[in-house]
Amino acid sequence: MTPVRILLVDDQLLFRKGLRSLLDDEEGMEVVGEASNGLEALERVRAASPDIVLMDIHMPVCDGVEATRKIKLERPETKIVALTVSDEDDDLFEAIKSGAEGYLLKDLRPEELFDLLRGVLKGETPISPAVASKLLTEFRHRPRRDPTETPGIELTHREQEVLQLVTEGLSNAEIASRLYVVEGTVKNHVHNILDKLHLENRVQAAAYALREGLIEAPGKQEQAP
């Protein structure tokens, strides 16, 4: 099996070394480089073409948000997951807007990280529960908007259903199972949704849908009246 090729970007040397040691010992994971700031990260991506970049947010010279934007511009196929101690809303939203596929806090067990990284390559979107709940709490209070009132966006009923489930964190396979369709159909729907919304990935789609009130915030429908 081809290993997942990972680039580590963090200005904390000891954290990088420790994480590298953990990843190198895990079967199916290979660290192909390290960088201590965003500009170095861009150079390493050009040189090593990693599958996944684990990106710190707060770094000197060039931060993780800017680096993500630059890398996505040059290499949109590179998956970028923010890995940070920051649970600030601004950092989360900026990272997602810049194109990150996921947002994880460093308070994570190694085996959880390994599973989440494998999921990234299957199109899943890792977000730490603490951050996800903050995000949903923030958006839950926003008014729901009729999608037909949003200029330029015409999602079909099925696409809205898929978007709802994407926002709940389900993978394509899980959505397919829920809607009784094959996974390829879900992939097509997700592709069309991203295309219509002019977005790059599922996390952006989920954040956009919640922000614009295109779908119901997960958990809201279960609340007592």
């Binding site: 904390q12 000891l14 954290f15 040691s21 953990l22 994570l108």
Partner: protein, 124 residues
């Protein structure tokens, strides 16, 4: 050769487990990870009687102050990832250093166990 117990007190799990993984590369070290923010950690440390304690965080942390007071013979290393520095408390001396020298600092302590109880921190 008997192993020496090393305790890692961490705040961010990945950071703590990463340091532990690096230290475990040395066969002399028997590494245990403990959360720094749990009430039971101080008691667990007293039970473990580690030879060295590596702690993520500032030296003014109440937990670290308590450990230094309760286990004066141990080697303490406070690692500050946010500014890539570390502080070593060793035989009433305080030395600052770079985190990349963490392993060497612990190994140096293993080679130079001045004034320690023979039972302190030995595992198995």
């Amino acid at each position: 050769m008997r192993k020496r117990r090393i305790a890692i007190l961490y705040t961010n799990t990945l950071f703590g487990f990463g340091i532990a993984q690096l230290l475990r590369a040395d066969e002399q070290m028997d590494v245990t990870c403990l959360r720094a923010d749990q009430a039971a950690t101080a008691e667990e440390l007293k039970r473990l009687r580690p030879y060295a304690v590596v702690m993520e965080g500032r030296e003014e942390s109440p937990l670290l102050s308590g450990i230094v007071r309760d286990m004066p013979a141990a080697l303490f290393i406070g690692v500050h990832p946010e500014d890539n520095s570390m502080v070593i408390y060793h035989d009433r001396r305080v030395v600052t250093g770079c985190p990349e020298s963490l392993l060497e600092a612990v190994r140096q302590g293993l080679r130079d166990p001045v004034g320690r109880s023979s039972a302190l921190g030995e595992a198995g």
